[in-house]
Symmetry: C2
Subunit: 467 residues, 2 copies
């Protein structure tokens, strides 16, 4: 980036994101900006007009420029109503390739340079110190299969703040949440069993069903309520369902936070139909408000297997997750031992130290505000798109769920967008019946800078041209 | 350790292990030791007699004390001759508990204090540096499913020194060798398939068969030749075998290095019967001599899946392994993605740097001599045991295979030894038909110091009392 208007644009953008100027607040006047930054009026106007085009600021005649604050009209995406019979899950190679790229949760295809955030530097220091504490013949020993006791203790303390009382003995450390989900399914289900999933639902789960030879049945899930429990009850009456995988806190891609009453009803259904409930809790710590209690806190019959990790709330490169396996816990721990022996001890100790000194809690608190602002910026930008779209407004997580006009096929859009350096996650990835062809998941995990806003604008142009 | 005779004993022990005095060589005289170390004659005698009792030195009348060098009579343990039909594998909880403890490969139950070996300090520095190189939003990206390219490059270079030409694209990084074996079996076999294993064979593999619902058939394996190929040919004629898991380089527990002719014959059988061959290569780098070529180097039909890791040759706490999946490679990589998403990038980079600067090669070279000396010390000590034993004499690996007199039951011996602070790995762990009740695996992975030699002596006393 070299032009002066771009530098100003970047500075204004950052100020808006840091709420130096509140939503609805007035930006410095053109004259003020000219003199403060020693820029020509044309340069200042250029920057402001670009931000206006992105929907982030608006000009009010004779008053100046204001940070956009229209309560963005987010009409929630439609929810499917028909339910298909359980079926074996197959996933194409194209989807697999997309899954790889989109797991990064970024509109841009490659990592950016720049400084590591402060909390990540602290985390890495903790891990480095744990490495330097290794002594004697420690390195010739495997960690115990359940994982490091101190880390499990910290996770239990963190859980207790959310109304979930768990002992370290009820936790088993895994290589991330996907690994936890895999162990949970492998321990509780057998080939051919029917597993209910949310629709739209996380593609990683659908892939697991495919690999384990399980059948999937899709239960419609809305972006405000989560799983449709009327529909789920129908499913349970019509078919023998063994397990259900649900993400009550900011499910990807719907972003829904399941309301308390729905949680109680889900657990009642699970008890009545003797279901294994696998709770994917990975997004809970990204809550913009209070971190919600897990469904597991309502589990009176020891049937909820909770799976989580630090990949979404801290770092994807740690590869550390955990599972609390209810009545299947012993088998899960056995499976972990047999398929992997152990996790790395020093890494767990480093993360445990990071949590113990309060750095993780601080990090989550700081991130919360950042993520909410990033979501708001994205919704503002989307509000200025010319075509008719519906979009979720999640209160946590890292992405919105977007419904485009019917003719748009997001699978082909994916390839065309990638050519232009924009990564989207197309809707069909989130379904085993090929639904959501005109939907996509769009990430707000990263700060909005010029390059990302321009990627967004390129995407809008592409869609307009198709639609 | 506080007594002066113990200090002298330790000093002599170390000298013997470092070959300051060659096997068969004379130790300093009692008078020399008294004056060199300012000790009384009684103290010096005490230390020498203890070493003599351990079989490490011998007194020759009027000549002094000599380092034991009798060409230790290692009569190889017997090899089973009967072959049982394929059967589902079940493993008891007791065995699972033992498996946990014995994976540490130490006679003593807990890690020891002291300094970390030099090469481990270097390794940890490399990992620390890789951590500090993280920048920008690296932490928000998952590594590619195949694993870090630079690490795969290093592994390919290492492989090429052993006559195996592999490209980085043919390698997939895993969480250790056990994880690689799991992926290999899951990708190439289906529930109910028959898998041939060595007998005695690695318990981790037997556990995997149990968990994946595979049937096992045991092929007798001797400590000098490895798998008995006449027996294997019989098995192949009588039953439909899908895959065979073999560890041609220093298999645990037999320690055998499969001779070149046997390797060729094994591959011919595999080609004729269209077998999946899963090669567990984890001990190759512990060779006391030249590192042998892998079986994979003879694979002309793309049917050998090679699995390995750095756990035995470098550190068990890294949790880094690899698999080269032959015609099943794509499916293996897919399974890794689906069950775990990715491996930690910074960790792989650290290990890759460690290999690239030659530190790994240096480490393996140094370790080679140490391990041979430790094996020799163990064989010497065992030669002085009063009961009739047979023991393997491996040219690599970390353990010997020991056959005790018939009445000894090593499963109950395990529990009694543990009470006295000694860990053994009982024979039945290495069989799915409960064979090897009077055998055990004994480790020489750690330097022999007083505490380990005393543990060995306690074990001999226990066995004598039982037998």
């Amino acid at each position: 980036m070299t032009y002066r208007y771009q530098q100003l644009e970047q500075w204004l953008l950052q100020g808006i994101q840091e709420q130096r100027w509140q939503p609805g607040g007035r930006l410095p006047s053109i004259r003020e900006l000219c003199s403060q930054k020693s820029l020509s009026k044309a340069t200042v106007m250029h920057a402001l007009q670009r931000l206006e085009a992105l929907g982030l600021v608006e000009a009010r005649p004779k008053s100046g420029y204001f940070v956009t604050c229209r309560p963005v009209q987010t009409q929630a995406p439609a929810v499917p109503t028909q339910i298909a019979a359980p079926r074996p899950v197959t996933v194409s190679d194209v989807l697999l390739d997309i899954m790889r790229r989109s797991a990064a949760f970024d509109l841009l295809p490659t990592p950016q340079a720049g400084d590591l955030p402060h909390s990540l530097v602290t985390l890495n220091r903790c891990i480095g110190r744990a490495l330097r504490r290794q002594k004697g013949n420690d390195y010739q020993y495997y960690d115990e299969p359940a994982g490091d006791g101190a880390l499990r203790e910290q996770i239990a303390v963190h859980a207790s703040r959310r109304g979930w009382s768990v002992s370290p003995e009820q936790l088993c450390i895994t290589s991330g949440c996907q690994h936890a989900l895999f162990l949970a399914l492998m321990a509780s289900c057998e080939r051919g069993d029917v597993v209910a999933v949310e629709s739209p639902g996380f593609y990683g789960v659908l892939q697991l069903l495919a690999q384990l030879g399980l059948q999937g049945v899709e239960v419609p899930s809305s972006s405000d309520q989560g799983m449709d429990l009327d529909a789920f009850e129908q499913v349970l009456t019509r078919w023998k369902v063994k397990a259900c995988i649900v993400s009550p806190a900011f499910a990807t891609p719907s972003g829904a936070l399941m309301p308390p009453a729905a949680r109680l009803r889900l657990m009642a259904l699970a008890n009545r139909h003797d279901l294994v409930v696998i709770e994917d809790d990975i997004y809970a710590d990204t809550a913009f408000g209070v971190i919600p209690d897990p469904l597991k806190a309502l589990d009176t019959e020891d049937r909820v297997i909770l799976c989580s990790s630090l990949s979404k709330s801290l770092s994807r490169d740690l590869r550390l997750g955990w599972v609390s396996g209810a009545r299947w816990h012993e088998r899960i721990q056995h499976l972990k031992l047999v398929t992997q022996l152990a996790s790395s001890r020093y890494l767990q100790q480093g993360v445990s130290d990071f949590m113990a000194d309060g750095s993780y809690a601080t990090h989550v608190r700081r991130q919360r505000t950042e993520l909410r602002n990033r979501r708001d910026q994205l919704l503002s930008a989307l509000a200025s798109w010319p075509m008719d779209i519906r979009v979720s407004r999640p209160e946590g997580g890292l992405a919105v769920w977007l419904e485009l006009p019917e003719p748009v096929d997001t699978l082909s859009l994916y390839h065309r967008a990638l050519e232009q350096g924009v990564v989207i996650t197309p809707g069909p990835l989130f379904s085993i019946t090929g639904q959501f062809g005109n939907c996509l998941r769009m990430s707000f995990a990263h700060p909005w800078d010029n390059s990302r806003l321009e990627a967004l604008a390129r995407l809008a142009t592409l869609i307009e041209r198709i639609g």
